[in-house]
């Protein structure tokens, strides 16, 4: 299935986002949810197609090698057509290899569907349906323009370790809530790729690529009018090892902010993990809990 076929029937906004690997603008909640749903469907089918193309390519290489051996063995018999096998297999391997690369270039990071969408679903009942949600999402993941460092680092017990770091502030969402307050969620990932060269047990040189993904999610709550905050209370509910709480002056009011960190790891490819939506929504719950007197609408 081609990329165009996979987006057939999608909204123009979703098609545009898939093309740009980004989503921005001011959205109605339901509309935003629908487009994110379309992006999810695209990304899932694209990932399946990518895996398939890669597997076919690997099989073609394997069969190519096998048919090459067969060709060598039977060449003495004067059969020219035995060379057809390796030639066809090589051509197919190249073809599917190209397809694989092409599909990989369309991939969207999973974070929007693993973290942001479930969070939006849980927060939906508090979003002011009459206002728009401002969104800025870059779904391209660790691509060259986000590279902030590249080079050899202290190899430790390995022969060589090449490290590439990508800084990816991929998402910002600004939610207008029913009590007039505004909640913003910001997501930033640092993707680190470590290519290790080392000597295996038998003395052979080996290579291994490891990825890690450091993560920060920041939740900010700006009340509609100036409110006082239970700063002490908020701090006491903060995990000093991976969270930071602070009051911020923004847009004429005192707001509160919580930042939380995660680390994910992967071998071979960039980790698709993202912060659990419950932990992100949990930050907003704690911020609301620290607002003295509770919410306007709640009274």
């Amino acid at each position: 299935m081609s990329a165009a076929q996979r987006t057939k029937g999608f909204s123009p906004e979703a098609q545009e986002a898939i093309e740009a690997r980004a989503l921005t603008g001011a959205w109605e909640l339901r509309r935003l949810q629908r487009v994110l749903g379309e992006l999810t469907r695209f990304d899932e089918t694209n990932e399946a197609a990518t895996r398939k193309a890669r597997n076919i390519m690997i099989w073609c290489i394997v069969l190519g090698v096998v048919s090459l051996i067969v060709a060598f063995v039977s060449f003495d018999d004067g059969l020219m057509w035995v060379w057809l096998g390796p030639v066809v297999m090589t051509a197919l391997a190249v073809l599917f290899g190209m397809k694989w690369r092409g599909l990989k270039k369309l991939d969207l990071i999973d974070d929007f569907r693993k973290c942001l969408m479930p969070a939006l679903r849980d927060l939906a009942q508090d979003v002011d349906a009459g206002k728009r949600i401002r969104v800025r999402m870059d779904l391209a993941g660790p691509v060259e323009r986000k590279q902030i460092s590249h080079g050899n680092v202290d190899p430790g017990r390995y022969i060589q370790v090449k490290e590439t770091v990508y800084e990816d502030p991929w998402g910002e969402v600004r939610l207008p809530l029913v009590d007039g307050s505004t909640a913003t969620l910001e997501f930033k990932a640092w993707w680190t790729k470590r290519e290790r060269k080392y000597r295996g047990r038998a003395g052979k040189i080996k290579y291994k690529t490891k990825w890690s993904k450091k993560y920060s999610a920041t939740a900010t709550l700006l009340p509609a009018v100036e409110r006082s905050w239970d700063e002490e209370g908020l701090r006491s509910r903060t995990d000093g090892k991976r969270e930071k709480a602070q009051l911020v002056q923004k847009e004429g009011v005192t707001g509160a902010r919580l930042e939380r960190h995660w680390v994910f790891k992967g071998v071979g490819g960039p980790p698709g993990d993202a912060p659990p939506a419950k932990e992100v929504v949990g930050m907003l719950l704690r911020l609301f809990g620290a607002m003295r007197g509770g919410s306007e609408v709640a009274r």
Binding site: L123, Q125, D179, W262, V267, V281, G282, F288, V297, A298
Partner: protein
């Protein structure tokens, strides 16, 4: 009379639509949408029927959040969320530090 069903997750507020009946379990006045089959979404979730419709799914999600975060205290209470955080802040996760060497031997993805 207006519907007294508490809506919201971050911002709890009564629904406020005109009352059409009462919840058969907790007795709160409910609008047509929240009355459903005769019970409010919260009471349905209490009975384990959380996948009945969108309203019960919302009420179920809220219950999960409040239980893991609140443990009995009311939303807005100073004591609120204390137990929550201990539960949510799962220990054993690597700390965050930019540039720190997280190249340790333990790797859950190692095969």
């Amino acid at each position: 009379m207006s519907c007294g069903y508490q809506m919201g997750l971050l911002i709890l507020r009564p629904c406020g639509e005109p009352v059409a009946g009462q919840c058969g379990s907790c007795g709160v006045g409910l609008c047509a949408a929240h009355l459903g089959a005769g019970e409010c979404p919260s009471c349905m979730v209490m009975r384990g029927e959380r996948n009945e419709n969108d309203l019960t799914r919302e009420a179920g999600a809220r219950k999960d959040y409040y239980e893991s975060y609140g443990e009995g205290a009311h939303f807005g209470d100073p004591a609120y969320f204390n137990a929550a955080d201990r539960a949510a802040l799962r220990p054993g996760v690597a700390g965050f530090a930019m540039g720190a060497d997280d190249d340790n031997d333990y790797d859950p993805f190692e095969t």
